[in-house]
């Protein structure tokens, strides 16, 4: 079965979801990411969903799970690039992904991760980088 590729960049893992995922693929990503974080002792995970035209409750839950699991492994997760139509729909659906940090794009996401991973075990203000 195809898998979504996970790239390593320094202390961070990068995932770019470019396909319309079926449920099994999403679960596979969850498993793969958790394993890679543990393997590499990554401090940050960046998930780029700018290609996703839809996020339903299953994918939303997957993102939430990944954020939670990575936190347990002492890594921060940032989801970037959600499209406006997707954000509006997700909120209407009833999900706001409270446990998931977000940023507008990959660049901002990396800044966010850099700020948070600079202080080991530090707690970065939710959603906004503290200067």
């Amino acid at each position: 079965m195809e898998r979504i590729p996970i790239l390593k960049m320094g202390e961070c893992l990068l995932v770019s979801i470019q396909v319309d995922m079926h449920d099994r693929l999403a679960l596979q990503l969850q498993d793969d990411l958790t394993a890679r974080i543990a393997e590499t002792a990554a401090r940050g995970v960046l998930i780029d969903i700018s290609s996703l035209e839809m996020v339903d409750s299953f994918i939303g839950r997957m993102l939430g799970n990944i954020a939670a699991m990575s936190r347990v492994l002492d890594a921060q997760t940032v989801v970037v690039g959600m499209r406006p139509a997707v954000a509006i729909t997700l909120v209407e659906l009833g999900m706001s992904l409270p446990g998931v940090r977000t940023a507008l794009n990959v660049e901002r996401g990396m800044e966010l991760l850099a700020a948070s991973t600079a202080a080991p075990g530090g707690d970065v203000a939710y959603g906004v980088a503290v200067d």
Partner: protein, 135 residues
């Protein structure tokens, strides 16, 4: 109500949900729905299709382009011959789930649509129909 096109798709496996999403997207684009409306249709379809497989034990999705004489719309019907829902009001509550999900499928699909109808009885399966009109 005039029927302009029909797509009938099976819902037995995981991959079928993706096909339903793609077909709904295609028909929505053809009808000229805005991007947000397209996304709402596809997302609602995804939720209901998943319900059909996970709770209904499999079934079918029917995607119909309709015309009520004055406007066009997309009507989606999800049908299964599964166990049926005992308490529909309860099932429609946000957060209520019997399969470890989030419990947003039915209520969410309703919020994302202009019209929502559900028929279900124990031992007789479930049918959910949602419609969105192109204004």
């Amino acid at each position: 109500m005039v029927l302009l096109s029909t797509d009938q798709l099976p819902l037995e496996r995981d991959e079928h949900i993706v096909i339903v999403r793609q077909t709904v997207r295609q028909r929505a684009v053809e009808l000229g729905f805005s991007l947000v409306d397209q996304t709402k249709l596809v997302t609602a379809a995804s939720e209901l299709a998943r319900n059909t497989i996970q709770h209904g034990g499999g079934g079918t999705a029917r995607i119909e382009t309709v015309n009520d004489g004055l406007r066009r719309g997309l009507r989606l019907t999800f049908e299964d011959r599964g166990p049926g829902i005992a308490d529909i009001a309860l099932a429609m509550k946000d957060g209520y789930t019997t399969a470890g999900g989030l419990g947003l499928g039915l209520s969410g699909a309703k919020r994302l649509s202009n019209e929502f109808a559900i028929t279900s009885a124990i031992g007789e399966g479930t049918r959910v129909t949602i419609t969105r009109w192109k204004l």
